[in-house]
Subunit: 174 residues, 2 copies
Amino acid sequence: MKHGTILVIDDNPAILTAVKICLGGTFERIVTQTSPEKVLTTITQEHPSAILLDMNFTLGVNSGQEGMMWLSVIHRKFPDIPIVLVTAYADVKLAVRALKNGAADFVTKPWDNDELIRVLKDAIDKASEIIPLDQLETEHVRKVLNKCDGNMKRAADLLGISRQTLYNKVKNEK
Amino acid sequence: MKHGTILVIDDNPAILTAVKICLGGTFERIVTQTSPEKVLTTITQEHPSAILLDMNFTLGVNSGQEGMMWLSVIHRKFPDIPIVLVTAYADVKLAVRALKNGAADFVTKPWDNDELIRVLKDAIDKASEIIPLDQLETEHVRKVLNKCDGNMKRAADLLGISRQTLYNKVKNEK
DNA sequence: CATGTGTGTCTAATCTTTTGACAATCGTCA
DNA sequence: TGACGATTGTCAAAAGATTAGACACACATG
């Protein structure tokens, strides 16, 4: 089964062509763009399942700052769309910062085609996981209870529920 | 105010000494260990607020596999303790894999002392954030509703609640 | 235009949460 | 040790949320 639309942003048309060929067999639709300027509009129109974003657009500037900035802009506006960053200038600090800023993954040029496909698929799969409300609640309750060393009164306060409610929840989940 | 205990694991005693001096002024207690073998026991005893974990322990093996393996082991057992990885062999792929496996951050040797302190503080702060239950719920509901393009029936199904309940929730949160 | 799907609304029964209370337990500090 | 403060386990009654089921209505699609 083919996975949704991928939006690819890179200032090099040759790269865009290569990506289209590489991803065309796996994904339903590949939308490309050579500049990130209008990216928010494109996203609204195309509803991509994932975004592949290059990090350098100004000739001679290879710091990745631009990519990082667009990552933030897109991620703030569309937190549910996974963004995979791409750069030719591998840099550990940059990669770490990107992931901590919400990037789904970080790939260096030149990439391995199969790897790129896998990375995008993984990112989409992860982003489309849906957790039932009660499971989310149970997990969070356990976590907070842990942080409070089992002190139910304090945990209940922090969770914003009454002590008895927390008491019942942990009793039922056991 | 001094932040809790830091557990540092590195096979080089000189590094451990340097870390102790570097972190001693900022954190309450620095516990060190030259091998990750007994780390789970140490964690149970010391309840560290964060862990600083070197990635290479076998002489001549610098792939970082060992650190990655211990990251997984510790993270599975203590998902609430932030783990900062340290390596002398900077490698983008490795850093990305580490963060995706649950590492809180990734630092390369030689590090900047102030940066190391900041990274650990950030990691601890982030890990000790506690979100009230209703906020968590509201955010998750919005996210799922988004993914379902506003289709309440489907969203309610996926969330494991009735359509009416979801209807009331979104009405109240508006 | 007929059909299927989802919305907005209502009701009555059921379950959950809350507030407040009280004795029992636990740690700690004098 | 003894007293104190904080937390737990438990209960009850009132208030609130969730549920299934129903029904008319809107809306897209064939």
